[in-house]
Symmetry: D2
Subunit: 259 residues, 4 copies
């Protein structure tokens, strides 16, 4: 039986590419995303075309019991989840405080922070009982510092980072590896950055700073996700940053495409 890698948030960026990578290495991959059944199908076909084992599911993680039911269903009907990737952002661009309604702030938290807690609550105790498991969390610059216009995002991501640390503190010794991965830059991801900026601006960004590797290429982000998930347990990484060579670190400047 293949090991299972569950990816919550699998579009054409990090999530999808991590899925491809784990499938290529022999995992059965379960891809979840909220919408765009066609995009999901395309991704599934592509992985299958490469000989991978994969399935896709549409899922709105803020729905009651969505995450919990998913985990239980996989565990019961497919097999033990070995690696789970939480890859949900809630970036809504820069908005002044008065343009950030309470509902927006709450939704940001539900998507970015509460969903991680729910996922951890559902899956980590099972992993701990099996004595083995990995939770990889895609995070962002906003988990390290707030910035003007980032009230909702920064608060959600700051919570996410501390939650990862508390989960790590409880579960590491039970052989469950939790890693908090800081994406410190703009990813070449049509589904998220592309939609936020609009197609035209996204393509312009790709041309201007991007060319081949100014934007962070998700297929290579996947390499590091795979590495982290396979570190020997005597040398686990809990937190690391990733950014393009052509970019500056978050502590050196702030540009509008860096969240």
């Amino acid at each position: 039986m293949k090991s299972i890698c569950l990816i919550i948030g699998a579009g054409a960026g990090i999530g999808g590419h991590v899925g491809k990578r784990f499938a290529r290495e022999g995992y059965h991959v379960v891809l979840c995303r909220r919408s765009d059944a066609d995009g999901l199908e395309t991704l599934v076909k592509e992985i299958e075309g490469d000989g991978g084992s994969v399935e896709g599911r549409l899922l709105n993680i803020v729905d009651e019991n969505a995450i919990e039911g998913l985990v239980l269903d996989i565990e019961k009907n497919t097999g033990p989840i070995e690696v789970v990737v939480h890859n949900i952002g809630a970036q809504i661009g820069n908005r002044r405080l008065t343009d950030t309604p309470l509902k927006t702030f709450e939704l940001g938290w539900r998507l970015s922070c509460f969903s991680l807690f729910r996922l951890a609550y559902a899956v980590l105790p099972i992993m701990a009982e099996r004595g083995k498991g990995t939770l990889l969390v895609t995070s962002s610059t906003a988990s390290r510092r707030g910035n003007a216009g980032q009230h909702s995002h920064a608060a959600a991501m700051g919570g996410r980072r501390m939650l990862c640390q508390s989960l790590n503190a409880e579960f590491a010794s039970q052989n469950v590896h939790v890693a908090h991965i800081i994406i410190d830059g703009a990813v070449d991801a049509p589904d998220t950055l592309g939609k936020m900026l609009g197609t035209e601006a996204f393509e312009r960004l790709r041309q201007e700073i991007g060319r081949e590797d100014g934007l962070m290429l998700p297929e290579h982000i996947a390499d590091t996700y795979f590495h982290i998930a396979h570190q020997h347990r005597s040398v686990w990484t809990h937190e690391l940053d990733l950014r393009s060579f052509s970019d500056e670190a978050w502590w050196n400047h702030a540009v509008s495409v860096k969240f």
Copy 2:
């Protein structure tokens, strides 16, 4: 007309003592707390006995419109809020993940993080329009690092810290001062630590490590709150830590009474 200092979370610990200090310096102080009308009345009488100007209000901040209505009411009927102190914790002691229901996690966020956002949303734009104001936020060690059993608290506090940074980034240049104050130790506060530990254990702690000043004395914490609120605007502090001389910094150890 006296300047107004509004304190959200005014018990016998930091909130009450900050209230006393600001009242002594000539502010009109509005004290809010969730329950214990007698305790609130005692505090009000004590401040009045010292010649201070004060009023007390019972308020459940998680209620819809509670914070928003309070701010508007004060601004309309009492006067402009010059300083507001957010002093709400949601410490529930150490609980394993499986002992932290979703409802608990959500309530922790509502109390610790969302209430701050709501307060900021209600009051900071008013302060910015007046071109003057101060928001002091009592925070905790958990805003800097997660710890086993602190899932709810750490996630809420991590969000709080990043939120303070994003608020500061938007409002500082409008002459609104936001400060994030890290209480890195156990405060000599009967209403919070006392209730969490139980009277007996609290008194034992006071005897053992406390004596006069092993626990952090809230009347002296109030000195620093007052100082921060009155720094010249060319030299504002955004973040500082406070701990007892007899304690170790959070990065040097972890004891069970440090959250």
Copy 3:
């Protein structure tokens, strides 16, 4: 007998103003600087004119035994040092790696980091034996993050910050307070920033961003130094930042006048 406050690095900026403030509050102040006897004399006269108790000494702190001899001399002939302020920078502007000779890097360390160790080595054990004392360390943004061109400064300041933490960890429980104060912006200091930028550029900066309070006003920085030195020992601050309301925090951007 008056309490003694020793200031290492007392020019027309932070050091001199901290000296004035402590003198005004009744301390006997010992001002040390490397050169400019006239500037030192002016400062001494000014403090005396305000009724303060003060003396000035010229001292090259990199000289062998300079710091050690100073401390012993004051302790023997003047009285016990209650507060000592280490206010030595080694900012040399932005220089590429190839423009930073080994000698420059070493001198930066001698001035900024080793001098603090020597001062601590000389004075903290004496304070610990007396069971009372305060060491205030002026530090900078570079203690928190490196930046292009700041190789020498960042390495020295990074060492300084960790040294302050290790000193605090050993001495706090002996009632010796060590505080690391991060000056996150440009100070209105003719002797340091003024000399580095040149008179003309400094005046232009004062006009443009400065007016009254865009630059950090050292007389108000002194207020916070005084406050920190007089916190009750149950509520000591070990680290805080200071910046102008009109500036952004170091984690939000980087401008050339921010070191």
Copy 4:
């Protein structure tokens, strides 16, 4: 011609194992250490026995021109250095301030911080001119927080971390990758931890907390070094931590074997 990997500090722990790993992947490895010609010879023979390309050099890095001469010699006579690993610690155990003479503090800095600057000064401009290169820096918990008794080590490591950031800020855009790797725990390294603790205590530690993987196994640390050195340049990691699953993160506690 093989790519060259230069390792400064190659004993039986991290340095030696990183050397083995890079040799196995086809690099020509240059191993340097201060003393123990026999140990170096053993390591060289072992790598050669595995079919690797390797040479060993004895070198006291604090000697004038030692690092600079080494770099120039390799570049001139062997070939271009593609990866350089700085793996020099200066841990001397916990010592109170009064047991840390000025000479000790200075030597700690020369070994841990200045040697890195000298190495960077010698090799990074050459790499930048070639438009390609990697500098991996072994670092420690003390780069993130000071601790009692760690005055010398923390000051050196704090400087090291900020230096890595300033180097990264200048050289990343020139396609030179600088990574700061935080070893947050005790490594199963007979040459360093073993010597510091003494053989008997080291073996006891191995038995008690170590068994197979309580101590960090350097052969697996090498996997992550190799991964970091081969990340695609659009997704470079600048900083990461490594620790054993059975250990707590530095922000969660402090034990005497954690520096």
